[in-house]
Symmetry: C2
Subunit: 162 residues, 2 copies
DNA sequence: TATTTTTAATACGATATCGCACCATTATAG
DNA sequence: CTATAATGGTGCGATATCGTATTAAAAATA
């Protein structure tokens, strides 16, 4: 192998970028008109980690600027999948709540993807996924920790919080 | 572990999505004003695989709609990193050529990223990258093959051709 | 308590992404 | 050879992403 460490990094990140794109396309093929991966991501996050979170918390979790999250949440609100209400504990912020429609949107989407994932598992054993998951988690954690020190000075926001 | 296959898939794709985002941010931090990851991607592709390709070929390689690639190439042209000329063999298409500035743009960018990658390698051994690369390649290939059959009817374009 | 700094959200503008429609050219069918 | 279908590229409009600046509220500091 003619692999120097730098090329190796580029190659791994390249594969990961392609997988991200293909898997996103797979997901979005099952989403209703007008909703895309970030919408599903937020709903799923609220469902798994619990709702009643501020837009800023969600933006941190997804590592996107808060302005982007404002926009995404607005889309979810327009589709009736979340409700945004004032935060009684902090007059600056709001809290985002899942609606019943939001919860069923998540369930339906996952259900709709099962055939795709089964098809995938026929040619790529789940054991292989289990095999790479720890290494991916670690790589993610390392990259995460490497970002600009969380000096909290960088208010325009792009930090990740699981 | 309480992992059913579906959750496992979502988890792997989720990690991959985050890594994609973090690595892209890492790259873009080293790119000059006005250029983003897709610009670098196209230049790097032309450099590694050879230039003199049609926009459509490049769009396929990156799995993006041709209209997006038109836009990206326009940006590269504006920065003097590529030249677009008619294809003498096919009046419909054009060919994209790297300029000297384009080549050095790629070299400089990679050079600028070496410190980042070295920093990474201090906490995440290259062996681990080598360890997951084959599995990632296979996963990418499987997802790639799974896409809608290349019926060539879907002219609006989203197919990948390495 | 009064002042300053930090934080959350958003409006706004610039650029990016992408679907659709269109034109020109080439390939295919008859 | 002609008619039809397929292909490559782009204009256009809708939406997405994101940086900057602004406003309001809270936290920190004096």
């Amino acid at each position: 192998m003619d692999e120097d460490p730098v090329s190796l990094c580029f190659e791994v990140f390249n594969e990961i970028g392609i997988i991200e794109q293909l898997s996103r396309t797979l997901l979005e093929a099952r989403l209703p008109e007008g909703l895309i991966a970030p919408h599903f991501g937020v709903i799923s996050h609220l469902s798994r980690r619990g709702d009643g979170r501020t837009p800023m918390e969600i933006a941190r979790a997804f590592q996107v600027p808060k302005t982007s999250m404002t926009h995404t949440i607005k889309g979810l609100e327009a589709h009736g999948l979340v409700e945004v209400r004032p935060n009684p504990d902090d007059g600056r912020s709001k809290l985002v709540w899942l609606t019943a429609r939001g919860q069923s949107f998540r369930d339906e989407t996952i259900r709709a993807m099962v055939p795709d994932l089964n098809r995938l598992s026929e040619v790529y054993a789940a054991e292989k996924l289990i095999g790479i998951l720890p290494a991916l988690r670690e790589l993610r954690a390392v990259l995460d920790a490497d970002r600009d020190p969380p000096v909290s000075k960088n208010a325009s926001g792009r930090m990740r919080a699981v």
